[in-house]
Assembly symmetry: C2
Homo-oligomer: 576 residues x 2
Amino acid sequence: MDKIFRVNMTDLTTRVEDVPVAWAGLGGRALTSSIVASEVVPTCHPLGPNNKLVFAPGLLSGTAAANSGRMSCGAKSPLTGTIKESNAGGTTAQQFARMGIKALIIEGQPKEDKFYSLNVTVDGVTIAEETELVGKGNFAVIEALEAKFDKKVGVMTIGQAGEAKMTAANISVKDPDSKIRSHGRGGMGAVMGSKKLKYITVDAAGAPGVTVADPEKFKPAARAFAKALLDHPVSGEGLPTYGTNVLVNVLNEAGGLPTRNFTYGQFEAHDNISGETMHDTIVARGGKPKHGCHAGCIIQCSQVYNDKDGNYRTSGFEYETIWGLGANCCIDNLDDIAEADNIMDDIGVDSIETAVMFGVAMEAGILPFGDGKGVIRMLTDEIGKCTPLGRVLGGGAGSVGKTYGVTRVPVVKNQGIPAYDPRSVKGIGITYATSTMGADHTAGYTIATNILNVGGCVDPLKKDGQVELSRNLQIATAAVDSTGMCIFVAFPALDIPECLPALIDMINARFGISLTGDDVTELGKSVLKTERAFNQAAGFTNKDDRLPEFFNTDPVAPHNAVWDFSDEEIDAFWDF
Amino acid sequence: MDKIFRVNMTDLTTRVEDVPVAWAGLGGRALTSSIVASEVVPTCHPLGPNNKLVFAPGLLSGTAAANSGRMSCGAKSPLTGTIKESNAGGTTAQQFARMGIKALIIEGQPKEDKFYSLNVTVDGVTIAEETELVGKGNFAVIEALEAKFDKKVGVMTIGQAGEAKMTAANISVKDPDSKIRSHGRGGMGAVMGSKKLKYITVDAAGAPGVTVADPEKFKPAARAFAKALLDHPVSGEGLPTYGTNVLVNVLNEAGGLPTRNFTYGQFEAHDNISGETMHDTIVARGGKPKHGCHAGCIIQCSQVYNDKDGNYRTSGFEYETIWGLGANCCIDNLDDIAEADNIMDDIGVDSIETAVMFGVAMEAGILPFGDGKGVIRMLTDEIGKCTPLGRVLGGGAGSVGKTYGVTRVPVVKNQGIPAYDPRSVKGIGITYATSTMGADHTAGYTIATNILNVGGCVDPLKKDGQVELSRNLQIATAAVDSTGMCIFVAFPALDIPECLPALIDMINARFGISLTGDDVTELGKSVLKTERAFNQAAGFTNKDDRLPEFFNTDPVAPHNAVWDFSDEEIDAFWDF
């Protein structure tokens, strides 16, 4: 039977608990959001003792299902003040699932100013004081812990940013190659820092593994599901070849590539940073164009990017990061962006929030647009060293905007808007406005249908159909985020008729239940409503579901589009 | 006939307009709030072109009525996001009134990064580019402008903090001795900075003066009113002798003097910073224990505080500033606090917000508690020089709390809580929670009745009667803030039966109307409701009418009191 592992950092005690009936059928985001909603007072200070940090693997994590190794991390976000779920690959989701850990809940706060670590085993959690690795970057932490335990140890850790409780701080997770994946968005690293936890190790020795209730039903479903992933042109071809960075040229062509802190929709030097250029560079330098963020991933959209001398520079080099430091900061040198990406992984800041932030910092005059070396210096010498300026930058785009009196600050609920201009790709604007998470493209990725013609085609420049599109995708995503599946399963799920039934069949076979497609939709709706109720209790209203003023007033080239949804049109999102 | 002077900073044009009928009977706060509510889109960025900065003298400003020389300044606040009115003494309210200027409205924003100045005369406003005084402190600005015009020139100016749009920036107003009074709270200086205005000069030559409709009725009312001010023990004796700083010992005795960033309710070294000590020090050093912030003030609660060599150090040295840097930062040296006060006037930051901020900064470890010299250095070298740390500090208590991950941050609606602990003086907590302005003691000064037994006596440690007390005082204050009167007229108004009728008689005589006491109450209610409607349209709800979590969870010595009002009890404030 799966268990809840609970850690109290106030009195430094741990417990193993039975799973309450209400949480039995939940996993991933559905579970973290349910736990946060039922146990965290919505008005609490997110960095105080009354917030809780929750990790939960997805419903299919630990099974042979392709791409099911995502872990959800939830809490009240110190960046947005909303409920937050941020999921990541790496090795820990499958470890937790195989160890029978339904969720790890970390609550309370030590009174003393000391750091601690957790070690998670099948028997429970132990707490130890940590001194040696405090102040160290994430790569050094992983290296030291692999030396102390072994290569198989699972690691979740915070860098200097998380220790300093910066609201752009993420939680880094060791991937199968001892590199880093991130619970990136919403400042989960600051919550972990506020609990005075430097890292969590996972020792899966003796894990009983996942029991599949009906293996004979599971196998063909898993095969059909994997086939759909490989057959779809996006998940089977575009992403494996170019990574997510395939999107630079696509968005530039669509006029939806936010450039120079969201002033323009196209970037002159887009070719220098495109997925095509990146692919050729990786191949020429002996890197890996394909790489999985977790065992069992068959899309392999990650990659290993080497420097010009053929030495490792970064992996998990994503479109949103490359867009953010590239087009949005006018940096046309992919090597500089790769170096910055690696430093962000090391010091532990969300590369989306940080990239959006640098656009605002450049508008504020803190450094010039295009200054890649300046970005690297500021990451290392300011954020990494927790200087006053570093703390402002590490607070994200909203923090820099407030501190420097900037009016063009692309955030919703104080979270930086990623990579797709909502004026010229209007569906994603509805997602940014209404998501329970603050601006988050993964919450309802309308780019699929607005730009890639997956799941049909909704004209990105017109308002028609966008609210319905975003609503359907946000509902589906909330469900997918609960399975442990990577969000990219949405591409085949939208286009290939066999994909979604296969996914549901796997869940049914895993638990010996008989969910229908409608049940899955209801799960997604229920997750969104639970999250929204938390946010409302924390003080959020429809008036927070709005884009910043400048999107209404400043047209963006080349389409000269503005954000033109009325309040009523946006609020209709919640009519379900 | 009074006129509206309007300045458009986008196209650098000015106009003189008739007063719309709806605003004819309004002045001061009633007028600034009405103008902001009717002309400013509540969701606009407060530092963008769609905010407006409004100055309006009170209904009785410019007349012979005692203590009527307060000017109201209104806008959407960049600190709180709410509507804001901040009133100050100085010379400009009476100049505006005598010049027939009902209000000055400044709108728009220059496209170019240049600073400007305004010169206000009876004929209208002229705009000039300003270069020489940009970057200068307020004292240097006043000195230069007196040299350029003459000693009588009225000046409203911003220091380095306002130029940099720091959200704790105030607008400084020249007082009759060429020293400084401040539109302190809510970041009005940042709004002025965002309009690219360094200063506004007022040349009242040719002012027609105020016409009193019924002088024979006015004179005896003015006499009776002045007599009440002089007869009351607080306004006639306590304030003139010790200034507002009479309150240090009083609040310490009551256990309501927030100490060490709101950790305790009493300060061991209270004697070192008390009004009694300050009075003796001023006298011994040849300063002035009495000093008026505007011509016509008969309370004279200001003072001139000299250093130990007998040289001018500061004036307008208020209890809230002395409490904030004193007890709340554990600084026991009045000379250090006086020097800091003078620097805050010069660089142009709200001394309440800044003092509350330093308490949070000390808790964050930026400087040690008790470090008066450190405060002086940070004001001069960080805020004054607009360094990154200076910008964080100049953003106020909330800014430091967010940037440094502090959980004990005494703010409501992001504005610092002044000088009176809401756990042990519960009436003022209701004012802090419900005020349309964010935490503001002057919005409904329950200290009068909770602590000074003025207008009766309501036990500060019990919940009974506090909501009603705060409600009645906030309504009355909103009306008083519209007359141009200093808030301290409330003391005699609450205790001496002749005072309030005399005030109403003066208004009636001035305009040839016949308001009753009920009309004045209705005016106050209407002001509050107008302001609240703006805030609600900007996205505020009852859930913003709450004190920070730590007031509920951390008891404060010596009474071990916590903030224990339910949401429903607080929300009952608005039942009128």
